[in-house]
Symmetry: C2
Amino acid sequence: MIRIGLMGYGNLSRGVEAAIKNCDDLELVAVFTRRNPDSVKIKTENVPVLSESEIEAWKDKIDVLVLGGGSATDLPEQTPKYAKLFNVVDSFDTHARIPEHYANVEAAAKSAGKLGVISIGWDPGLFSLLRMISTAILPEGNNYTFWGRGVSQGHSDAVRRIEGVVDARQYTIPVDSSVDAVRSGSNPTLTTRQKHTRECFVVAEDGADLARIEREIKEMPNYFDEYDTTVNFISAEEMERDHKGLPHGGFVIRSGQTSEGTNHIVEFNLKLDSNPEFTGAVIAAYARAAYRLNSEGATGCKSIFDIPAAYLSPLSGEELRKSLL
Amino acid sequence: MIRIGLMGYGNLSRGVEAAIKNCDDLELVAVFTRRNPDSVKIKTENVPVLSESEIEAWKDKIDVLVLGGGSATDLPEQTPKYAKLFNVVDSFDTHARIPEHYANVEAAAKSAGKLGVISIGWDPGLFSLLRMISTAILPEGNNYTFWGRGVSQGHSDAVRRIEGVVDARQYTIPVDSSVDAVRSGSNPTLTTRQKHTRECFVVAEDGADLARIEREIKEMPNYFDEYDTTVNFISAEEMERDHKGLPHGGFVIRSGQTSEGTNHIVEFNLKLDSNPEFTGAVIAAYARAAYRLNSEGATGCKSIFDIPAAYLSPLSGEELRKSLL
């Protein structure tokens, strides 16, 4: 059994917990939190919830520590810190800071003889892998990434910060006609507005100025101003009934030529009932890989580009070749 | 420059040749043939076409030998044989014999300090990779593979062997309603007939018994009897005009659950103007990987499951993390 620890117990960690239940070779052994451990109820029986300050005592009792924190402040600090004690996996997604994060984790993990796997999930993660592979295979061509239909947590939060908004959910939606154009192999150049629309469901305070809220959403720089946005005001009951889940998905398309007039479309497509549960399942598979690679002597930092697929599966190489090749 | 040799000069080798032209770090240095070398005209200038018997003299002048032969008789013999002299890549696709082929190539390549990469292309190949990864991520679920719309060379050949048939082209076509059912997440159980239909275009001899030809096609065991098949008789001119290309494609779908009622669809989808050119492009990328892995000391046999994606790209790890992660 590969012993997994979870740092934090937000949506993502709960997704990893659900994934572990589906894996016979993975076992959740401890959850660490910055909150009062007594206030955190987890879904797995007989697994302790502990204060983050107690983690060092678990150095030899955890094979892989999964870091469920956020990319803005948690992971830049936590991933290098804990890579000195454990094999770690994170879902670091601040694109511009990946080189710096990689360097920090590489130094920490290398010196400790541990392995750190960063930026795991579906984007960054599986989408990156497919972009990379299809670009290597079709060097002459274009990459297109579409997200949705799905809930963007960042955009939902941004709407919630507007005065008079009680709750909000924002869906990112790919524009069908643009997707069709890409799939046709016409290699279009698409603006931000042509690729996605944004749809908001908003619960407003009684008596709030709805026209102002709608205007503030649609004109919000970076988040909404470059998109065609629809705003729907709904009741708290409708929000609870219709928008509880966190579905997401999207697709990466490479459209490329091998010779004059010969075009190929490579598409990777996800349709997810639950973004955190799927992301957690990806992380669980890479936690398995981290443990196995480190057991064979690999140390330092790795991204999804560096890990052979065979390490993700509990099956042996022989079984994989026989059943899935 | 990575120096590539081609064994054979059929459709697949020509696809690899086209791919090499798109790669600044790959160079075609020689083509070997069992035919009279003078009878083989290749598309790359100043590259020699030589008899297979001369290959040993090229031992130190080729970094990777691509084996373009067939899986029935060529590759079981050639891949182990040439893995004693070169790093090799093949597209071995006889599923039942992969374990045996792997063992033979492993022994030959290992003893010679070379690397052999087997079963590269899109199925086996990229489809296998996606099946494997998505199965590891979603252990509870089902895999579905659909092929087409595309030309099946084997089925076209089978029709051509019928008395009275001058030429034939067979298209494999996924059944839309079944594909939709899979994509909906309903996890259907599908029979062979429910997954694909077959469409034949046949040029018959003057005066041939068309009803008999159509009956013989539709009742042909293994090839057609388990499918709904359409037969269209056309002229030689129509065949030349409308069916010259070798388009293909298909998709691998994993439909799996992470918890009760929470389903995810992972789809990998190819739409290829030319099956051999795309397959050749995949092989070219894995030839790059074979050379780089062997340069770092890796020897023996590897499948697509064993090779980190980073090795497929001419970009450095740093460049990949910065631009594609």
